[in-house]
C-alpha cells in the first residue's frame, strides 16, 4: 500500500517497503538529492533533515515511522530565495567539498529555532554529530553566530 509523505509542503505517495529509510525515499524515490548519504548508521549527520522542525538522521527513520512533515535542504530555501542561515553560509564561505553542508545547515537551523542565540558550547553540543572531513568547523560556527544575529534583528 502506498505510504503518504509530506516533504517540503508537497504530498508524495510512495510504494516501498515500510522499512526503507527516509533518506533513500528522498534521494532515490522522490529525487531530492540535497540530503546526503554518508554512513547509514547516524554517525556523520550528512542525511540530517527535519521532521516537524526537529533535526533527525533520515538514514535511521523507516518510511513507516515518519511522524510528521519532512523538511529537507531544498525546502529551507533555494538559490534565488535562500534562508537566512543559507545566506550566512554563503557569506562566511563555509563549504569546501560541500557534501556534509546540507546536513550541517539542517542541524543548525533546528538549533536556531530552539536556541535563537546559541553559545559556543551550545553549538558544540548541537553540531557534534555532524562530521566534516574538510574541517570547515570554524566557519560553520561563524555562520551560525551570524545567522543568529540576523534572525534576532528580524
Amino acid at each position: 500500500m502506498p505510504t503518504r509523505l509530506s516533504v517540503n509542503g508537497t504530498d508524495h505517495q510512495v510504494d516501498l517497503p515500510d522499512d526503507v529509510p527516509l533518506l533513500w525515499v528522498l534521494r532515490d524515490e522522490i529525487g531530492l538529492t540535497g540530503t546526503k548519504f554518508g554512513c547509514g548508521v547516524a554517525a556523520c549527520g550528512a542525511c540530517t533533515v527535519q521532521i516537524d522542525g526537529e533535526a533527525v538522521r533520515s538514514c535511521q527513520i523507516a518510511l513507516a515511522d515518519v511522524w510528521g512533515d519532512v523538511t529537507t535542504i531544498e525546502g529551507l530555501g533555494t538559490p534565488d530565495t535562500m534562508a537566512v542561515i543559507q545566506q550566512a553560509w554563503v557569506e562566511n564561505q563555509v563549504a569546501q567539498c560541500g557534501y556534509c553542508q546540507s546536513g550541517q545547515i539542517m542541524q543548525a537551523a533546528a538549533l536556531l529555532a530552539e536556541t535563537p542565540a546559541p553559545t559556543d558550547a551550545e553549538i558544540d553540543d548541537a553540531m557534534q554529530g555532524n562530521l566534516c572531513r574538510c574541517g570547515t568547523y570554524p566557519r560553520i560556527r561563524a555562520a551560525i553566530h551570524m545567522a543568529a544575529a540576523r534572525l534576532s534583528e528580524a
Binding site: 526503507v20 538529492t33 547509514g40 548508521v41 564561505q93 563549504a95
Partner: protein
C-alpha cells in the same frame, strides 16, 4: 614571477577554434622535437584551460576537478583577471553552473531523444569537447599543483581571448586593436560604443590569437583578494550535484560487496535469497565480488548483504603485526633511494650528544564524506561514466578496456567530489560501475559503496616505519640520519593508472623528510620500499603525511636533547637555508604568542613541514581538563608566494590541519584475518565541532615560487599535536594515533 612568465612564453601556445555560435580558446604545450598538440602522448598532454565564448557568455571548462579546494573559483579569477569579465558571470563546469550543464549538454549527448534540452550552447560544448577536446589533457588533480599549473596558462588564455575579441571588434569598426579597450564583457571603442563579447565570438573564431603580455600584479582586481566561491550557493542549498546525485531516466541503483581480503578472489556465491528480495533487479558477478541492482540503493544494499559469498584469501599477511614485520624487513634491503646524503653521518663529532628513535605510523583510510560511487550507461558501442574523479583520462582508458571499446567511445563526466584527498584518483568505482552497466545495456545504473565497503576497500595511506639517529652539540643539530620504510604508493598507482612496472627511486616515499630546509652538516635520508601486495594510494600530502611526523618529531626530540626551545631550535637551523620557511616559524611564534612556557595543565607544540613548495609552521595547544585532553587552539603560518585567494588558502590551511589532526588523534586502519577491521565513522572518527581547535592563520607572501595549498597544511599538524602532548605530559608519542596513548576528548 617573471621567470615563470618567460618559460611559459616559450612553452605554451594558445589556440582557438570555432564552435557553434562562438569561439573556444585553449592552451597547449609546445613539445619538442615534434610538437603535435592534436595527438599528445599520455602524460605529456597539456591543453588544460578551455574557454568557450558564445551567445550565452563565457564558460570555463576547468580541467582540474573541484573537491573542495576551490580550484574552480581561482581558475575563474585567473581567467577573469585578463579577460575583463565579471567573475560572477563566468560559468564554470562542475560549479553551480554545472547542474545546468549536466542537465543539458552532457546528458543530452548521452541520451539522445530522452527529452533533454539541446540548445545551441550544448551543441557547441559537445562539439568542442569532441573536436578540440582531443587537445584537452584532463590531467590528474592532485599534488597541490593546480595553481602552479594554471597561474600563467589561465591568464594567458584570458588575455589571448580578450585581444582576439578586440581584434574582431577592430575589424568590424575599421579601427586598430590598440584603440580599443575592454570592460565587463565588452569591447569599448574610443567613441564610447560598446560591443558585447558574445556578439564578437563568432568573428573571433576566424582570428589567430595574438601574442599577449600579462598584466602586472599591481593592476589585479580579483587575484590576491578573497572572491566568492563559484560553488558556494549550490553547496549551501543542496543543489550542487555530486556524483552520487546523478539521476538519469530509467536509472537503477546498485550496491556492491567486494572481497574484504583485498586482492583476493571470489570462490563462489549464492544469491538465491538476495534475488527474491524487494526491488531487486539482478545480481552481477564482478569477479572478486558481487553487485546487486535494485530499484533503490538501500534495497540493493540489503540484498547485497544477503548474498552468501565464499572469499579467497588476501595476498598479504592477514594480521597487522605481520604486515608491519614485512615493512620492517625492508630496512634489511639496500635502500630504494638516498636522496639526501650530506657530510658523514657515520662519524659523530667529538662531544656531541646522540639520540635514536623509532617511529611507527598506521595505515589510514581517506574516508571522504561522499562514499565512492559511479554511474554508468553502456549501449553496446559506447559507454558513459559519471563520477567525481581526479583522473578522467585514466578512468576513460580503464573503462574502455573493460568494455572492449576504443577510448573515444567512452565519455567520462566529472562531477563535483564530496571529498577527494587522493581517493578519487583511483579507478575502482568507474571500473565496477562499467561492469554492472555492461550487464544491462541501455539502462543507466548508479553504483554506490556503503560506508563499510568504502572504509574496508580503500587504497590506504601506507603504514610506515622510521629509524632516526641524530646528534646535537652546542644547541644545534650536527647529524641526522633517517631511514624510512613503507610500501610505495607511487609504484602501485602508476601500475594501476598506466600499467607501468614498479621501478626506480621513489621520491614520494621520502618526501617531507629528505627535502626539509635544515642546516645540518651530516644529513642522510634513505627510503626503503616494503614489498607487500596491500592496496595503498595517495592520501592528502602523500609521503609527507608520514615523513612530516617522523622528521619533525625527531627534530623536536633533538631540540629537547639539546636543551633548547623547540621553536628557536628549528629557526636557527632553518634560517640559513630557506628564509620563507624561517618566516613561517617567526610568524607562528608571533601569532601564537609563543614564549616556550605554558601554564600548568596547558601544553604547546610546534610543527614544521615544507611540502608541495609551501612551508607551513603550526603551533597546537592542548589543555588537560580533569584528565581528558582537549585540542584547544591552533595557529598556522604558511608561505606559498602569491596568495591568489586568501580566503580559500585560509580554508585549505585549516582544513588540511584538521585532516592531519583527525589522523593524528584517531586515525588507524588495522587488519585481522586479512580484512580491515574499521567499518564506519564510529571506529574511524575524526575531528568534530566540539574537538576542533580555535584556529588563526597567517598567510605570508615572501616565497619566490608559487606553492601548493591543498596538502601542505596536513603534515605539520601531526607532529605539532604530538609535540604539544609531550609538552603537557612528558610522554613522547612515537606512534599514532594518539588516542591509543592519551585520554583525548572525543
Amino acid at each position: 614571477m617573471s621567470r615563470i612568465g618567460t618559460v611559459a612564453r616559450r612553452t605554451f601556445l594558445i589556440g582557438s577554434a570555432a564552435i557553434v555560435g562562438g569561439v573556444a580558446f585553449g592552451v597547449y604545450k609546445l613539445r619538442q622535437p615534434a610538437p603535435n598538440p592534436l595527438q599528445p602522448a599520455t602524460g605529456q598532454t597539456a591543453l588544460n584551460p578551455f574557454v568557450l565564448i558564445d551567445q550565452q557568455g563565457v564558460t570555463l571548462i576547468a580541467p582540474r576537478a573541484e573537491m573542495g579546494q576551490g580550484v574552480h573559483t581561482t581558475w575563474a579569477a585567473l581567467l577573469a583577471e585578463e579577460l575583463d569579465v565579471d567573475m560572477a558571470s563566468i560559468r564554470v563546469l562542475h560549479g553551480p553552473a554545472a547542474k545546468a550543464y549536466y542537465n543539458s549538454a552532457m546528458v543530452a549527448d548521452a541520451l539522445p531523444g530522452k527529452g533533454y534540452d539541446t540548445g545551441e550552447f550544448q551543441h557547441s560544448v559537445g562539439e568542442a569537447l569532441g573536436g578540440i577536446g582531443k587537445l584537452v589533457g584532463l590531467q590528474v588533480t592532485g599534488g597541490s599543483t593546480s595553481m602552479k599549473d594554471g597561474f600563467v596558462r589561465m591568464r594567458e588564455t584570458g588575455a589571448a581571448a580578450r585581444e582576439t575579441l578586440k581584434q574582431a571588434a577592430a575589424d568590424l569598426l575599421g579601427l586598430k586593436r590598440a584603440q580599443l579597450r575592454t570592460e565587463n564583457g565588452q569591447v569599448i571603442a574610443p567613441d564610447g560604443q560598446t560591443i558585447p563579447y558574445t556578439d564578437l565570438a563568432q568573428a573571433a573564431a576566424k582570428i589567430e590569437p595574438p601574442e599577449v603580455t600579462l598584466r602586472d600584479a599591481r593592476d589585479w582586481r580579483y587575484l590576491g583578494t578573497s572572491v566568492p566561491r563559484v560553488d558556494m550557493v549550490g553547496k549551501s542549498t543542496g543543489t550542487a550535484q555530486f556524483g552520487i546525485d546523478i539521476r538519469l531516466p530509467g536509472m537503477k541503483f546498485a550496491a556492491l560487496r567486494i572481497n574484504p581480503h583485498l586482492g583476493g578472489v571470489m570462490k563462489g556465491f549464492d544469491a538465491s535469497a538476495a534475488r527474491s528480495m524487494p526491488g531487486v533487479d539482478r545480481v552481477v558477478d564482478l569477479g572478486n565480488g558481487i553487485a546487486v541492482v535494485a530499484s533503490n540503493t538501500w534495497l540493493a544494499q540489503q540484498a547485497a548483504n544477503a548474498v552468501q559469498v565464499t572469499w579467497g584469501a588476501a595476498p598479504y599477511p592477514p594480521e597487522t603485526d605481520a604486515i608491519f614485520e614485512r615493512i620492517e624487513q625492508a630496512f634489511d634491503d639496500s635502500p630504494n633511494s638516498v636522496l639526501r646524503d650530506d657530510g658523514d653521518t657515520a662519524s659523530v663529532p667529538e662531544g656531541a650528544t646522540t639520540l635514536r628513535a623509532e617511529y611507527k605510523l598506521p595505515y589510514l583510510a581517506h574516508a571522504t564524506m561522499e562514499p565512492q560511487n559511479a554511474t554508468a550507461l553502456f549501449t553496446g558501442d559506447a559507454l558513459e561514466i559519471w563520477c567525481g574523479n581526479q583522473t578522467p583520462v585514466f578512468q576513460r582508458n580503464t573503462c574502455a578496456k573493460l568494455a572492449g571499446l576504443k577510448p573515444d567511445a567512452v565519455q567520462v563526466h566529472t562531477t563535483l567530489m564530496g571529498g577527494g584527498f587522493g581517493r578519487r584518483g583511483e579507478l575502482d568505482f568507474a571500473a565496477y560501475a562499467t561492469q554492472v552497466a555492461m550487464d544491462m545495456p541501455g539502462t543507466p545504473v548508479q553504483l554506490t559503496w556503503s560506508r563499510e565497503e568504502d572504509m574496508t576497500h580503500d587504497f590506504y595511506r601506507p603504514g610506515a616505519l622510521a629509524r632516526f639517529s641524530g646528534a646535537v652539540q652546542d644547541g644545534r643539530a650536527v647529524m641526522l640520519d633517517a631511514q624510512i620504510a613503507a610500501q610505495s604508493a607511487t609504484h602501485q598507482a602508476l601500475g594501476r593508472w598506466m600499467g607501468l612496472p614498479a621501478a626506480g627511486p621513489d621520491k614520494v616515499l621520502v618526501d617531507g623528510a629528505f627535502n626539509q630546509p635544515y642546516d645540518i652538516p651530516n644529513y642522510r635520508v634513505r627510503g626503503h620500499v616494503a614489498d607487500l601486495d596491500l592496496p595503498v594510494g595517495f592520501w592528502r600530502s602523500v609521503g609527507a603525511s608520514f615523513n612530516g611526523f617522523f622528521h619533525d618529531t625527531f627534530i623536536d626530540e633533538m631540540a629537547h636533547a639539546a636543551g633548547r626551545d623547540p621553536l628557536a631550535f628549528r629557526l636557527d637551523l632553518i634560517r640559513p637555508v630557506h628564509a620563507p620557511s624561517a618566516g613561517t616559524l617567526e610568524a607562528v611564534r608571533a601569532l601564537s604568542g609563543w614564549t616556550g612556557k605554558t601554564p600548568e595543565g596547558v601544553g604547546r607544540g610546534v610543527g614544521f613541514t615544507y611540502s608541495f613548495g609551501t612551508p607551513v609552521a603550526q603551533v597546537i595547544e592542548v589543555v588537560d581538563e580533569d584528565g581528558t585532553i582537549r585540542i584547544s587552539r591552533a595557529w598556522i603560518a604558511c608561505d606559498m608566494g602569491l596568495a591568489l585567494d586568501p580566503g580559500i588558502i585560509e580554508a585549505q590551511m585549516i582544513g588540511g590541519m584538521m585532516y592531519g589532526l583527525s589522523a593524528a588523534a584517531f586515525g588507524e586502519i588495522t587488519f585481522a584475518q586479512g580484512a580491515v577491521e574499521q567499518q564506519n565513522f564510529p571506529d574511524y572518527d575524526a575531528i568534530r565541532m566540539h574537538t576542533a581547535p580555535i584556529t588563526e592563520v597567517a598567510i605570508l607572501e615572501t616565497n619566490p615560487h608559487l606553492g601548493g595549498a591543498g596538502e601542505p597544511g596536513t603534515p605539520p599538524a601531526m607532529p605539532a599535536l604530538g609535540n604539544a602532548l609531550f609538552d603537557l605530559t612528558g610522554i613522547r608519542a612515537r606512534e599514532l594515533p594518539l588516542a591509543n596513548l592519551f585520554d583525548l576528548r572525543i
